[in-house]
């Protein structure tokens, strides 16, 4: 098990790689990655049951990035774990590259499902969890949702079916970073109380600080054993843009591009 300090370094790596890759594209989703950097680090380096040498291992834990616009933060993690050569990332968003703004399961080893249209991922997770049970596997299916995404009705169709089918190996993590594109989720279309809403749909609920690595690990450890019958959600309270002062809780940075001295300033800020 990596130390908290090691995981924090991985979260920093997610952020700096996001800054680097966005410059290749000329535009990208910084802040929605920064809010889930600790979540990605904790899941991929301390929790998920994976074997990068066998990306199609049938009983691997699944990870569905329903908020697909954070894929730029996932790609470096997959490369770092050995799913593919990190040098391939330099083609990010270039013509014909496997790596676009949203993840493509057909072209990128380690990506369990293609995403990009919000509201679909929890249904994908329901299907994978049903399939796992039918196949006699005990893998977990993890789905990373955004809080703004909870306005999509299909999320609640899926939430209903997950508890109806007793899919205890389905775990949703809500990156509750408080902002959508047009401003605060609470102003545009409120999602709270997220924990009570999932509880009312029959889910087991935990709520933690999504930037607190020991708290995230404790929440993972507190999940019921595999093979349970109650789907689980971890609501992670986060800050969109976390780690870069100018981006934190700023609606101006959902998509952006750091140019010139700003690029160097942000890398320096992240290196502190």
């Amino acid at each position: 098990m990596p130390t908290t300090r090691e995981l924090a370094e991985k979260a920093r790596f997610v952020r700096t790689e996001t800054v680097r890759l966005t410059r290749i594209a000329g535009a990208g989703h910084y802040s929605a990655v920064f809010s889930c950097a600790e979540i990605l680090a904790a899941l991929y380096y301390a929790e998920l049951r994976l074997d990068p040498a066998r990306p199609d291992w049938p009983d691997r834990d699944r990870f569905v990035m329903s908020k697909g616009h954070a894929a730029i933060g996932l790609y470096p993690v997959l490369a770092d774990l050995g799913y593919f050569d990190p040098a391939e990332l330099d083609s990010y968003t270039r013509l014909g590259s496997p790596f676009g703004d949203h993840p493509d399961m057909k072209r990128i080893a380690g990506v369990d499902f293609s995403s990009g249209s919000l509201g679909h991922g929890l249904s994908v997770g329901v299907g994978m969890a049903l399939a796992g049970r039918l196949a006699g596997h005990d893998h977990r299916t993890w789905v990373l949702l955004g809080d703004g995404e909870l306005a999509e009705g299909q999320i609640w169709e899926a939430a209903t079916s997950a508890s109806h089918y007793g899919l205890g190996d389905l775990v949703a993590v809500v990156d509750a970073n408080q902002l959508g594109i047009d401003g605060f989720v609470a102003d545009v279309m409120g999602a709270e109380p997220i924990d009570a809403r999932f509880a009312a749909f029959g889910w087991g609920v935990q709520r933690v600080d999504g930037h607190d690595l020991p708290a995230l690990l404790a929440a993972f450890a507190a999940l019921p054993a595999r093979g349970g019958t109650v789907p689980q959600v971890i609501v992670a309270d986060t800050v969109k843009g976390k780690g870069v002062a100018r981006m934190e809780l700023s609606p101006d940075w959902h998509v952006g591009n750091l140019a010139g001295a700003d690029y160097d300033d942000v890398l320096t800020e992240l290196a502190r």
Binding site: S123, E157, H164
Partner: protein, 337 residues
Amino acid sequence: MTETQAPAEFFGFKDSRSVDGTDTRAIPAFVFGEELADLAEQDDRIVVLTADLGRSNRATDFGARHPERFVNVGIAEKNMITTAAGMAASGFVPFAATFGSFAALLCAEQIRTDCAYPNLPVRVLGHHSGMSMGFYGTSHHSLEDLGMMRCIADLTVVCATDANHLRALLRLSLDHPGAMYLRLGRGRDPQVYDVVPDLALGRAETLRDGSDLTIVATGSEVHPALRAAEELARDGITTRVLDMWTISPLDREAVVDAARTTGAVLTVEEANVTGGLGSAVAECLLDAGLAPRFRRHGVPDEHVPVGPPAALYAHYRLDGPGIAAVARELLTKGTTP
């Protein structure tokens, strides 16, 4: 539903006539539940999903024999399609069935983004397609599905002609890589194929040959097209009838040959003439530099009035006599009026 009522009559149609007036009371309703249940005895990848329509589409026939592989998601069609995609990503071959209107129109984006784009073997069954729901009205009609599904990349689009043909499609689908949209009628389509046909994707079935005209029909309109050909034969007009069940990929060779050999092409579909079979055939003809006498026959670009199915087919001249009349117009007057 009472004990004495057959499941296929769940929606209570008193009118048992098919597209062309055939009495369908003796015709078996949907066979996909039964056929898939048989196939599932040998193939443990098969799962069936529906959205609270199992009594209408007879998915319950599958559920009764394979309860562990039957998933009823309730009235939540989008969740059904994406759940099927998740199961497909884990190695299963899911068949997800609901009314064509809900499958293709409500879930168009789920079909494209979650099934076709990742090239997953999801089979979407859109049943009670076209205007076969009759007086249930526009919300329950899918006259747009052919056009909508046809323009999605990496989605195979096929139409079932009758029960035997549907069995063939289901068997063919098992090892087809990628997603499919299977368009089914009301489940009471009169028999065209007396045995389960041997089909190949992209190859239309030539059901009758002739030299004066080709009728290119699909799905529920194949049977009345054959009726029309019989009627035209009594006037000395010989008609080739193609069952263009394979919409995407289209059998372009068959279309080109029909134009070159018979000089007149009439497409017939229970769908809006904008974007469906007729549009596909027209594109094919122009691409090939051909300009035969040509007419797209189907439902005009309008919302259809209330009425029993058979009355609607007669109203739009989509029954046998209607198609024959349209064919005569094409041969005497030339192009679309």
